[in-house]
Symmetry: C2
Subunit: 438 residues, 2 copies
């Protein structure tokens, strides 16, 4: 049901549906496209988002377009079908998915790679009063909120403070806090000469005693020193009790003022997973067998952040998602060929996080550790190379160069796509008038 | 009232407020920055929009960021103040402006360069059921509506039509219709292989018997032939009686189906002009004397599209706006120096319009006329050179190259910034399900 012949490249093989156009989903599609299978990629957006650089968009370093790639350019070249839509139901008995718009599609094989969403661990007010950084729209909204606040400071005049709080000391939290610090130390002076950087406070709250838990202690300490040197107030071993519209309340009783609170403290699978009847593991993610197949659901595989494999822990990183998506697709090929599936083994490509210009940490297998300028350069190179599409690469290089070399602030600073942002920054007519009348 | 010393560059001269960061406003500011005047630029956006290329954004050829430039980069370099805000009231007696957020600022001299908005000439339904192309957000919204409709066609499958109607055969209308035709003939096949271009209908409705009225008849005929050759249905001498959500009703009784109707038929001044007590001329625009000063309102000048000068007709073009803004600023300098003002004389730089790749018309003074590839190349060169900011230039060249050389569709195709677009394209669950069930 639901399938239409593609006018371009008629395929006659089994019907494979891949849900999610992230790293795992695209890797699976690329692999499956080489077979005779009828492949359909489903995503709720027409673009694929390069999540590792979302924080650059949020801090006005990159264009939203730089980190997004049109999915159709990807599927078209491979002669497979793309379907815009949100999966609302997976009938694993009838082997059929249903979309929010009513579309229904039968599958012989299904690869679930929808990615994850924020986990608030039951912290009161976290869901309501924090912003996330998981989607392109999240990043655009955060950027507009930040810029609207800076405009407000500019209007209100000297003496007014703004407080940023980044919750979570993982790679996302560290990179965002570092980028905010650079926004304050450089772009701020350039774009808002009337704002004193000392009125802009950036705090990073982590419940563990260290930053970047997966990294070697030496790199953890380096990241900590770098953030502190850049004027980020780092709170380690800090439990958050509650989040309010303008405060972050810590378990030890301290209340941190916070105008913009970003939640980067953890992820969990979308609730739908449970409804679809998938066995759930840590963080509600779909539990899969060693071959990434979902136990008890014939033909269903899960890959990327949404999947947690029995036995081995797979980090939630782009390389792991790419490897997982490719592996799931290969197992489907094996099943189609009547061969047994093989187990997935994650090949560690290393981990990296950047604090700011000429400051990053890289940890490669065989305990090779790099930090500082070299690490930063390899970070830039790797991320730009990984970006899908030449135009994105060029445009990203262009904007990164502007950010890190000339400190000009081009299109990244172009805001106003989130009408709610200005309102969120508070009623200007109240705060804006007073100093103007001085 | 309202003025605060700029920490960077204390100025002590008369207070000059420039309202509007378009071509005229920026030209005025650039001129005034060279004086000792305390200059404040006021705009409702933090960016200046390069309007001549809005239609490229609307048709996914350029990024929204490519045609926008951060105003603060402009004002900061010149050591003058930028104020984000919308002017709600001009008290010409007290020489004071008031902003929507309550901020109030006294001025000794005022330059009004707010630009214009659409004129609907009382056509029923025009304001409600057509989209404009005057602001960056207009362009983003139009782009997202177009893309959402194409997604809908893709979901619904063969046999479904989409109808675009461009109202107005001036430069904006011709360029938009031409760009839509190219979107259909090139990017469409690339991004939506399942959509048959014959299901995409593009109509241009003009009430005059010719396109591009200000151009020489030979160029008018060329533009007409080019559009027709590209599959645009051009309706000349066509009066519009009414616009409905899905139709454009002509005075001769014919009803044109229209899913997306773009209004590019004319402009008028924002209604506020009248409330501010400015004498109004054609299209409700502010009537100014030969020196661009507003008669009877001491210290008030108007420039750009918003102003209509007594005596000479000034075209509503970027060069005219730049010249007018600069002239107004120079007259203020003269008044500050105690000298009399001089009359404004528009220096014709010529006019141009592009129909599509390697097809444009250029009409220079001394009746020099160019068309075709050479005209198109000069159009590209001129518009890219005129773009503010190197980053914008590079990024724009990059994207134009992609559009016209490789026909790749990069960030321009990245949509989803207007959540209303998908809904506007109609309920997918109704139209989408049926063919999917085939």
């Amino acid at each position: 049901m639901g399938w239409r012949r593609d006018r371009q490249q008629p395929r006659t093989g089994p019907r494979v549906i891949v849900v999610g156009a992230g790293f795992a989903g695209l890797a699976a599609v690329a692999e499956l496209a080489r077979t005779d299978a009828q492949v359909m990629l489903v995503d709720r957006n027409v673009y694929s988002t390069f999540q590792p650089l979302l924080y650059q968009v949020a801090t006005a370093g990159l264009n939203p377009g730089d980190i997004a790639y049109p999915v159709r350019s990807f599927t078209r070249r491979r002669g497979i079908r793309f379907r815009l839509g949100e999966v609302t139901d997976v009938d694993t008995r009838a082997r059929r998915i249903r979309l929010a718009d009513g579309g229904e599609y039968d599958y012989d094989y299904l690869v679930l790679a929808t990615g994850v969403t924020a986990a608030y661990y039951g912290v009161t007010g976290a869901a309501e009063h924090t912003m996330g950084l998981y989607t392109r729209r999240d990043a655009i909204s955060l950027r507009d909120h930040i810029m609207a606040w800076l405009e407000r400071l500019d209007v209100d005049g000297p003496g007014r403070d703004i407080n940023f709080t980044v919750v979570g000391g993982g790679a996302t939290g560290v990179e965002l806090a570092g980028a905010l610090a650079e926004l304050r130390s450089t772009a701020l002076a350039a774009a808002f000469p009337e704002i004193d950087g000392r009125n802009v406070h950036i705090r990073l709250v982590e419940q563990l005693p260290v930053l970047l838990a997966p990294f070697h202690p030496a790199l953890q300490r380096y990241a900590y020193r770098q953030l502190v040197r850049r004027g980020v107030e780092v709170r380690l071993s800090a439990q958050i009790r509650e989040v309010t519209p303008d405060q972050v309340l810590l378990a030890d009783g301290e209340d941190l003022p916070s105008d913009i609170t970003v939640w980067a403290a953890g992820v969990s699978a979308p609730p739908a997973i449970g409804q679809w009847g998938l066995p759930q593991g840590r963080g509600g993610r779909g539990r899969v067998g060693p071959d990434l197949a979902v136990a008890g659901l014939p033909g269903v595989f899960a890959a990327g952040d949404i999947a947690v494999a029995d036995g081995q822990p797979v980090p939630q990183l782009a390389p792991a998602a790419i490897q997982g998506g490719r592996h799931a697709a290969r197992q489907i090929r094996r099943l189609i060929a009547g061969r047994p599936t093989a187990g997935f083994r994650y090949r560690d490509k290393g981990i990296m996080a950047t604090i700011g210009r000429r400051s990053a940490v890289v940890q490669l297998p065989a305990s090779i550790r790099v930090r500082g300028t070299l690490a930063w350069l390899s970070w830039v190179g790797l991320h730009v190379v990984q970006l899908l599409g030449n135009r994105n690469r060029l445009s990203t290089l262009l904007n990164l160069a502007y950010r890190y070399v000339s400190w000009g602030h081009g299109a990244g600073m172009i805001v106003g796509d989130d009408p709610a942002a200005i309102e969120a920054a508070g009623p200007l007519q109240l705060t804006g008038a007073a100093p103007d009348r001085r």
